[in-house]
Amino acid sequence: MTSRIVVDGNEATASVAHRVNEVIAIYPITPASAMGEFADAWSAAGRRNLWGQVPEVVQLQSEAGAAGTVHGSLQAGAVTTTFTSSQGLLLMIPNMFKIAGELTPTVFHIAARSIATHALSIFGDHSDVMAARSCGWAMLFATTVQEAHDLALIAQAATLRARVPFLHVQDGFRTSHEVTRIEPLDDADLRALIPDSLLAEHRARALDPDRPVLRGTAQNPDVFFQSREAANTYYDAVPGIVADVFEEFAARTGRRYTAFDYHGAPDAERVLVIMGSGAVAAREAVDALVARGEPVGLLTVRLYRPFDAAGFVATLPASARSLVVLDRTKEPGAAGEPLYQDVLTALAEEWSDAATRPRVLNGRYGLGSKEFTPRMAKAALDALTRPDAPRSFTVGIVDDVTHRSLPVDSDFDTERPDVTRAVFYGLGSDGTVGANKNSVKIIGEHTDLDAQGYFVLDSKKSGSATVSHLRFGPAPVASPYLIEAADFVGVHRFEQLFTTDLLARAAHGATVLLNAPYPPGALFDELPVEVQRQVRERELTLWTIDGDRVATEVGLGGRINTVMQTCFFALSGVLPKDEAISAIKAAIDRTYGKRGGTVLARNHAAVDAALANLYAVPVPAEGEGRRRRYDLVPTAAPDFVQRVTARLMAGEGDSLPVSAFPIDGTYPTNTAKWERRSIATEIPIWQPDVCTQCNLCALACPHAAIRVNAVPAAALAGAPDGFKSTTWTGKDESLAGFRYVVQVAPDDCTGCGVCVDVCPARDKTELKRKAINLEPKQQYLEDERAWWDFFEDLPYPRPSFDALDPIKASQLREPLFEFSGACAGCGETPYLKMLSQLYGDHLLVANATGCSSIYGANLPTTPWAQDASGRGPAWSNSLFEDAAEFGYGMRLAVDARAGQAADLVDKLRPHLDDALADGLLRGMGARDEEGIAAQRERVTALLDRLDELDAELFSHATAADASGSTEPIDAAATAHREGGLAADVSRLRSVAETLVHRQVWVVGGDGWAYDIGFGGLDHVLASGRDVNVLVLDTEVYSNTGGQASKATPRAAVAKFAASGKSVGKKDLGLIAMAYGDVYVAQIAIGASPKQTIDVLRAAAAWPGPSLVIAYSPCIAHGIDMRTMMTHQRNAVRAGYITLYHYDPQAALSEEGGQPLVLDSRPPRDSLAEWAATEGRFAVLARTQPERAEALMALAEADAKARRAHYEQLAVVHRQVPDRVKGDALRALPMAGKEDGDG
């Protein structure tokens, strides 16, 4: 009997790869990270490979590093692999050419993902592997999770025989993250296909001083070419070798694969050619069409490289008259997409009769995980019946610009009636996805039914929505696309019914389960009218449970997963109810067994309580309720937001046509404010009588959802009823008599509670009452909304930093970074918000890929905002690895344009007011707010003057024309315009704005700064140019799920460091200080907001490079994020973080000075005790107590040693050569022309 396991494509692949390799070099990248994490965790747990060794799993600083390590390990004779996708694969390409050129057997396992072009996409298509197709690697494409598992072995067996390296490709997310049951390969299967003799051959080729050889020579024109051709026979042999391995595999397992697989009518006239998971959807379409008698077929390509043209043509039925080749990639400007071109070539070369050679169409589908359904496959096959069908088309989108998309027949349905389909709408972290994975496991592993789960999560990290798509039925259940008509719909968050059309996926007669806080009899009235109509039209059966109450009562807090899962099993009929209940309880025991009796008992209690609290909802025959779906954006929103953004928010982006979108990936900023997500259940309510006006709440708010302001009393005329304000008590006289306001944006607050935690003011008579308290939102919502709308339009006074303490002054400036979808309580965002308050209106941001680029710019909206004048940060993301260089490029461009502007001002001086020209040139260096404002006025005056000049020139030309001169007036005027004054005027107009100073800030996480981007960062810090770098240091790769970086401290547990990191954190600041002329600082806003502000201002003022390392607590640390700010304070008190700034300014004079200043006192608290409050440290004490203790002792030593080192450096006298001064002067063209840095 074959056992069955339920896994996703990543685990299926890793389970083979870990057993057939000796060295595994990894680097995290979505959606392949999990393969490396599995490998790391298994090696940490001592799991052995086929040869009895625990594979060595090492993490590198980038995929380029991983590929280099793999290359070296292969050369030295170990069987070696890696896992990657997308940009990661691109970084491996240089080594991949080498590995193939040296005929080195290896398999790289790829979860294929889009390459970033106009935008980043973490989702699936083949653009990455297609970009690697010229490397000389064989390429095997899996279509299902089972195939990903099987081909992982087949690729390994084939590469060791063929010596040609293999890419083993599965579709990112669609296969890598689909949870389904497979028949696992056991060690005997692996051993049978990979006999030790193959390993021995590989080792025999290893570099070894006992039998030395030379590899990697440099070759001259005399030999390179011939050598390159010398390997041909090995490539020629690959298809045959793979076919042999397929045969051996089939003989052992009964699962038969071929390089090209034909399926469909034996006499098919129309054939669809495709690779990857799309083949499974296409197969469903072909089966349905063949059943209708249509002469169609499907050719699935598994071995794409080397492309066996003869094999391909031999697999096609001779009856084929037309082919449609579908590519999951786009190669703009090519004669056709890659697979299409290969097919055309094969037909040209191998089809015996040119007269009957089939017509071939080429389609693109599924880019960035766009759905590909049987309907779309049918549309492609249908196109072959139309003589006028476009040769190159798209399917799955509506292209209303170049009209290349195919229409799709929405009535075509291939879903089987014997399959139960269920869709669940949950909230990130409510456990819905986990429970559904568990359901798939329960059914897939413990019944005869097949089961499939696929999960769609949005990119917001707070209040994110999840959709689970589950299919259960007789095998095989493999449909690789989302469910459109579900028999069961679970709505786990009632409020979502008001923002999203959740029942759009409910089939006629479906069962709908609502988690709702209303009695069953009253529930229908609480539904939006739109939903009530759907219920009646589709004759839906409604059930309800107050899951939150039930879960709370059994002690599971907000975790409704077990409750809702039980209800699903009780209602869906997938299993008999009693059987289902005992299966759930058994699953609870398996899942939570190690978590102790309390967790088990409470979950068991949840199962029983769920059954006792599940009610049918009566649906009255008529009558509509009072509630309606919310309008997603107000009518005041800009046109683009209404037309496009609102549709994306509603989850209807798929239906938008090509014309709706920008052609180059350029989107408006200032859009998060239109996305009122209203995810908090409690919001902060201000008590003016208790408030001390410290402004810390606003400063700390990670979401800019709580604001302060001080306005003239008159500005409050017309304020809505109840609008709260109090007398401003601050020192700044310019604000005397002002009213002070603290206001929450009730629909943008996440309820994280950070503001309450930092609030130092307490009611003297009742100490639990602070000046800010969290209260249930609903009772305040209406008032607070009206107050917020009014508050939003109040002007900010922007008092001078000279007159007020920096905390107050900074918060009386408008944040131009607001309402991000970062995790509730995010430790990074307060820094970005502060940056935007200080310089938002003249700021360029070069953002490394990571959390900050996702909450910063993941559609539909962006938190980067604009002030009343329309100014605000201009933001872009290039890659993960090159943010520093990207920002440096921005700096160079701005300086170049500014340089030209200065030259032109000088040149046009005779036409300008002298004072204006002098002012403009002097004002270029202004970095302070007053100076910038004054310069802006000058630039406006300049532009006015340029307009006048234009008008003068025009009238001069017109006058000349009217004078009847015999000169060729037009030509003269044109010459004048192009070469003379007019051209200068026009040029100056195009660069005049850069006469106002622009701040360039490079922003990224520690994964970027410490690891993958360090080389570039180092170079830019060494450049002497005015580039500021803000490292949001969470000490872990937060965005990809918490893998260790070189910023991860000793003793902390992280992914890729499952046994606790054994080496200490890299001291990036110290490295940068070595340059001498770099402004370097370490900040922790929760420990010292004042130091943070001072540092950000000083870094900006320093005309050379700056590096600011910002300690950023993260949910990956396992702390209560409500205390994110006070936790930072405690970290500093415990000596975990030392605040400092290194200001080269202090060492520039001839006599030098002491540039390093420590801004935090020596530690007062125990580091170990502080660390115990973080899950990442505490977890090790619970897994490996002795190791934890030993590592913590070293971590304490690290902290002490570092502090001692800093204290010594702080008294070191240093003189920094004036290279920076030179560079800074050079950046100012007037002064620096002859000062170039050579």
């Binding site: 965790a41 747990a45 190690k594 102790g596 967790v599 995790c823 918490g1042």
Partner: protein, 334 residues
Amino acid sequence: MVRLSTRYLGLKLRNPLVAASSPLTGRTDTLERLADAGIGAVVLPSLFEEQIEREELATHDLSLVGHEISPEITGYFDPFTGLEIGATLYMRQLAHAKALLDVPVIASLNGFRPGGWTHHAVLMQDDGADAIELNAYFLATDPETSAADVEDRTVDMVAAVCSAVRVPVAVKIGPWFSSLPHLVRRIGAAGARGIVLFNRFYQPDIDLETLTVEPQLSLSHPSEARLALRWIAILRGRVAIDMAAAGGVDDVDDVIKMLLVGADVVTMASSLLRRGPEHVAMVLTGLEAWMREHDYQSIGELRGALSQRSSPDPAAFERANYVKVLTGYPGSYR
């Protein structure tokens, strides 16, 4: 030749000095130092029922951190399947102490709900505890709860644990009961072999800077020993149960006094924390010297020689004594 060996809870001890629950009994190095200094038995730090529960739930929560929050994140702490929680970790410490020491190791369990006890007491027994010290602490805040309710709950809980384990059980209680001898007798009847007098509890304190309430447990003061001294003297011979003196025992004089009034063993924590585990050796030397000086051959002879029943002045342990101490305060108190 003076013999210090004695019996407590049916266990043979080389002397009547027991290291009470404290950070010293939670660490390998200090446990070893206690044993080297000659300690008679050790009581491990308490396993709190609420602590186990909280830890289990906290670990569970941690394993779910970041779950399902983005397509790129599967959760931050989920792969750590080796996670051991609550009781497991305690049991490991227990087994470790048991392997390390050749004196009796008493595990300590703290809480009040009847349901959760049995399970953990059995685990302790299974992992080698020679005895279990049960800390019964319940703060009645509900005006509906009577003194009798509190006593009933205490006794029920003792009965539940004693019926579940084979190893002897001692019960550690606080001094605030209306009729202590009656309760102690009921505890004995419920199956306990010993009673530990008295537990000291964390008490709330207020930080006047932050205006927050912080639970505090300061080290005991020798004057506290008087309370146990009196009650042990009174109970000796009235109840058939082993008695351990606890709280405020600082030096050899205190130890001798406790034995004289009837304690079977004397537990120490604060003085060991203050003076280090080596203090045990000093006390033992002093005890031996005193016994030689006063011609006591064994602990058995000494035990209870000055209990209320054996005392020439029984009334001195009752209320009159209280007045006498106040009026006769010598003014040179330690």
